[in-house]
């Protein structure tokens, strides 16, 4: 096992696939390694050529752009989503595979990635909640034809969002309607669907659409999702292309549908009760299970952008002054260029560290969903076997499982249990307990990935762009960084913008089971810190403690007017706490990936000479990131913990000492008056006082907070040294002669 403190080793080249496979845990998944290569060749080949030749300059879906669909099909990208029995080739859950795919495509262009993923988004409702028959029917239609087969694969779109004032962020108020057109005795009812979409991806060519609609007919209960096909009787109008400023390689339009469809197109099927069609699933249930998974991949698209910026920025920095009159070959000005200066290096380290943390968070979440998928099915089966009816009975059973889970975790926390990890593998055999724990984690990690990776990622993309100077905001910028900056903003918006993720986190992060898990993670970070101090795991643990204390305080606390602080409506409290948590989670995952590299790199066959250099560099990045996360947490928590108390005024009773009290203080502890007078929290006999808002605010009840925060601040020791070291590594790391895709 390598220690992160391993000597003075320096990273020699940019991390290659072998390193990533270990960090992101797919060194033994050859199917995924191949998928990565395959997607990369499409991204850095056709897609990059399209972008370089200006294909993003049109809003229309063109023949040129359509070449991507064929390339996706040929490279096995389309069929990743399908199970082998439906014509796919990857066994088992595919969240991680799709995450890697999105990462590779978005490395070059977010629109290309979105186009590929939106096809899956259309199939996802059918896959997750469709009937067996629907599933097999549409999967088979969408699987790309084998060579020689002349069949044309179907493509789909997912239509939830509607023209204002209907559904957007909130999925509640649906404008799309479904009613019964005809219902002849003994025959399948025919439904009439009216739906208008806004910003619907892949709509320029989709053959079918999964649309969310609400009943406007007493003979249909509630809402549902239905499958609309091109060719159904009525209007299937693709609508005008959206004038996007971003992701122009994907097709987006505002379609209009007015169609008659058989009731068998209700996703998940229906039953008839007292002459009323009752869909098996309402639209919210379906959407929740869909977005829960697909949002993770979106988060990784922004991570890819950040990491893709490193090489072009280093090349730009180094070459900045070459060819000029001053600075002949061999001089620092020639060889290092802008890298002679500290700030551009430090900023690039910040971009890189963010990219690493967000990729680690996203991939960890995607992998967890791969564990969650079978658990979810197993749980559904078990509840069925136990005859636990959906609704209240199910909730009760799950509450009990949650209690058992908490008990189990608390037991494991005792030192004598010998357990250290909170990984799913170490969980007990009780399926419901495993489900409860995994569910509690994914409920937090998924919105955190979407929120932090895209939101903070977009901010950091701006930093990356600025490091390229004027070049950064031109079409010619190597790595298309300017476009990626804008693209990141869309990733922060679609599939639910930041507000939606923060809202979800506000609920899930306060869940008792999650908080118990979180306590385990604090212990885990301290444990790691004792073995790998250079990763900044201790800094992170201290920040996690401060966050946890603050959350507990806010959950109970009231503001100066006696109003509760942690409430759904108080987004000023809940949202920043959600943000702070996301910083912490990303940093944690980054540390876990780095110690995986340190601990298993050698056994995974990584070059023994080079490995310590990578471990050192990635540990430094972890430390930099942990320190930033800690700073952010400290800022947010102090603001909330103190910010809702009213600042004392000079006139408030008992606010501060009078001169007489000061004198008596001086007689007790000589010099103390000077200290107090220094803060000038005193009022003279003549009423004079210092020129400030009032006496300094007290901190009654906040002593623990202060202690934790003080400790946290001291924990930042070493983090700036880590940044300096990482920055130095940037000046010597070797990069390729040219980018491996055109600009």
């Amino acid at each position: 096992m390598l220690s992160s403190a391993n000597g003075d080793s320096v990273m020699k080249t940019l991390p290659g696939d072998e390193i990533r496979q270990v960090q992101w845990r797919f060194s033994d998944r050859f199917d995924l390694q191949m998928l990565v290569q395959s997607a990369r060749s499409v991204a850095r080949g056709l897609v990059a050529r399209l972008v370089a030749s200006g294909a993003r300059n049109t809003h229309e879906w063109t023949e040129e752009k359509a070449q991507m669909l064929t390339a996706f099909d040929e490279a096995g990208i389309t069929s990743v989503f399908m199970d082998p029995e439906d014509g796919g080739y990857i066994e088992g859950p595919k969240n991680f595979a799709l995450a890697l795919l999105a990462f590779e495509l978005a490395w070059v262009d977010g629109g290309a990635a979105t186009g590929s993923l939106a096809g899956n988004l259309a199939l996802e409702p059918i896959k997750e909640k469709g009937t067996e028959q629907q599933r097999s029917h549409y999967m088979k239609l969408c699987v790309p034809p084998a060579p020689g087969d002349t069949r044309k694969a179907w493509r789909g779109a997912f239509a939830l969002t509607e023209p204002i004032p209907y559904v957007g962020v909130d999925t509640g108020v649906l404008g799309g309607k479904v009613g019964i057109a005809r219902w002849n005795d003994g025959e399948e009812p025919i439904l009439h669907v009216e739906k208008r979409g806004r910003f619907i991806t892949n709509m320029g060519f989709a053959n079918f659409v999964c649309a969310a609609v609400d009943s406007d007919d007493p003979r249909i209960k509630g809402s549902c999702m239905v499958i609309l096909e091109e060719g159904d009787p009525g209007v299937f109008d693709r609508g005008t292309p959206t004038k996007k400023l971003v992701h122009q390689l994907s097709s987006t339009t505002d379609p209009v549908f007015s169609l008659d469809i058989p009731a068998s197109r209700i996703i998940g099927g229906y039953s008839v009760k007292d002459g009323v069609i009752v869909p098996q699933w309402n639209h919210s249930q379906i959407i929740e299970s869909v977005f829960r998974r697909t949002r993770v991949t979106v988060g990784l698209m922004t991570s890819a952008k950040l990491l893709s910026a490193i090489e072009p920025v280093i090349r730009y920095q180094r070459g900045r002054f070459r060819g000029g009159a001053s600075g002949a070959e061999g001089t620092p000005r020639h060889d290092l260029g802008l890298q002679m200066k500290e700030d551009p290096l430090h900023r690039l380290i910040d971009v890189w560290a963010t990219g690493e943390a967000s990729a680690s968070l996203g991939f960890a979440t995607a992998r967890l969903f791969d564990e969650f998928d079978p658990l979810e099915r197993e749980t559904e089966r078990l509840l069925g076997d136990l005859n636990v009816a959906p609704g209240r009975a199910q909730m009760r059973t799950m509450m009990e499982a949650q209690k058992r889970a908490i008990q189990f975790l608390e037991e494991s926390a005792k030192p004598e249990s010998g357990r250290y990890s909170t990984g799913v593998a170490s969980l007990p055999d009780d399926t419901l307990v495993r489900f409860a724990i995994t569910d509690a984690i994914t409920n937090v990690l998924c919105p955190a990935t979407k929120l932090w990776n895209t939101g903070h990622g977009a901010n950091m993309m701006r930093e990356a762009v600025s490091l390229m100077g004027g070049y950064g905001i031109t079409e010619d910028c190597p790595g298309f960084l300017g476009m990626k900056w804008m693209d990141a903003q869309l990733e922060a918006t679609y599939e639910g913008p930041e507000a939606v993720q923060r809202r979800q986190l506000s609920v899930t992060m306060a869940n008792e089971l999650f908080l118990t898990i979180f306590r385990g993670w604090i212990r885990e970070m301290r444990g790691i810190a004792s073995e790998y101090p250079e990763t900044g795991a201790c800094t992170l643990a201290s920040a996690m403690e401060l966050w946890l204390w603050s959350l507990t305080y806010l959950l109970e606390g009231k503001d100066a007017d006696g109003r509760p602080l942690f409430k759904d409506q108080r987004q000023g409290v809940t949202f920043p706490m959600a943000d702070a948590l996301s910083w912490l989670l990303a940093s944690r995952c980054q540390i876990l990936d780095t110690i995986e590299l340190a601990a298993r790199g050698a056994e995974r066959g990584l070059d023994a000479e080079a490995l310590p250099g990578y471990v050192r560099f990635f540990s430094d990045l972890c430390h930099v990131q942990a320190a930033r996360a800690a700073g952010e947490t400290s800022r947010v928590c102090s603001l909330l913990v103190y910010g809702y108390n009213r600042h004392p005024g000079w006139k408030d009773e008992g606010a501060c000492l009078t001169d007489e009290e000061l004198v008596s203080a001086e007689s007790l502890i000589p010099g103390s008056a000077a200290g107090v007078a220094g803060t000038a929290d005193s009022i003279g006999a003549d009423g004079t006082r210092a020129t400030k808002a009032g006496p300094c605010a007290g901190h009654e009840g906040l002593e623990t907070f202060q202690r934790l925060q003080k400790r946290l601040h001291a924990c930042l020791s070493g983090s700036a040294l880590a940044k300096d070291r990482a920055a130095r590594a940037l000046t010597s790391v070797s990069i390729p002669e040219a980018l491996d895709y055109p600009a």
Binding site: K12, T13, G16, D17, E18, F30, D31, Q33, M34, L35, V36, Q37, S38, S41, V42, A71, E74, A75, G76, S79, Y89, D476, G605, D607, E609, A610, S734, I735, P736, E737, A738, D740, A743
Partner: protein, 269 residues
């Protein structure tokens, strides 16, 4: 009688040509700086040979393709993540150095031994393929030596085209001076073909083919014999990159004719 060809392609990894390749003297003699951590690709000429082999095998039912590589096992495995997706083949890895500083005779010996050990290889149907040049060593002799060791005397180099007539005669075009081709006909295998670039594009990656190949590639890698290839006893007086002048200018939308014109003008000085 069985039909089709038994095509053995010799090829291994070379550092990705986009990387900065700097000679360096390591503990075991000359090497490239950071060679073990530079990303690598299948030697481009050998890659053409592989695509031609796969194409031929597809056209002639009953054919089979092997790829024989001498290279560090771990890195070969990584290389397979792309190469295995290009075409169906059986992999015959030999765990040893793929450095450009190895003595080509030693590499050729390791290759010949590995080929000799392939079970069921029918020499009467054998086409021994490889690159006539290499992006790492370019010793220009490896393939001929392998042929010699295997007793194959028909050797064609810098081949751009191989076609088979109805009666099974093989015609080849070899590049010669002045942009001309030497046309040869050959009655039947076995023969050695050192490919130039051929005419086939790089096949797209196809993970499905890759997964099918991996079923035999992984066990083969696990069993790969180790060999010592290198240049023991040889001392290098000097190692340097060929002198080159690299002046890069980024241009857009320039017609091919104009680019060609500029190059000609530059050559003429």
């Amino acid at each position: 009688m069985e039909s089709g060809y038994h095509i053995v392609v010799c090829g291994s990894l070379v550092p990705d040509p986009l990387q900065t390749l700097e000679p360096d003297v390591g503990p075991k003699g000359p090497a490239l700086k950071n060679e073990m951590v530079l990303p690598s690709v299948l030697d481009p000429w050998a890659a053409h040979a592989l695509y031609e082999a796969a194409h031929l095998a597809k056209e002639y039912a009953g054919s089979k393709v092997w790829l024989v590589s001498v290279g560090p096992k771990q890195r070969l495995q990584q290389l397979m993540m792309t190469v295995a997706q290009k075409a169906p083949f059986s992999f015959v890895p030999v765990d040893g150095s793929a450095s450009g500083f190895c003595d080509p005779f030693e590499t050729a010996t390791a290759l010949a031994n590995a080929i000799g050990a392939i079970p069921d290889l029918d020499r009467s149907r054998l086409l021994l393929f490889g690159g006539y040049a290499s992006a790492s060593r370019d010793a220009g002799v490896t393939l001929q030596v392998v042929g010699e060791m295997l007793g194959i005397t028909e050797v064609f180099l810098a081949v751009d085209s191989l076609s088979v007539s109805e009666n099974g005669e093989i015609s080849l075009l070899e590049r010669v001076e002045g942009g001309n081709y030497l046309f040869s006909e050959c009655d039947c295998p076995p023969l050695v073909v050192g490919w130039a670039t051929g005419h086939l594009p790089e096949p797209p990656n196809n993970p499905q083919i890759g997964m099918a190949n991996m079923r035999s590639i992984m066990p083969a890698l696990q069993k790969a014999p180790q060999v010592q290839v290198g240049a023991e006893g040889v001392s290098f007086a000097k190692v340097e990159l060929p002198q080159q002048q690299r002046t890069t200018r980024i241009v857009k939308d320039v017609p091919v004719e104009q680019i060609a014109g500029e190059i000609v003008a530059w050559i003429r000085g």
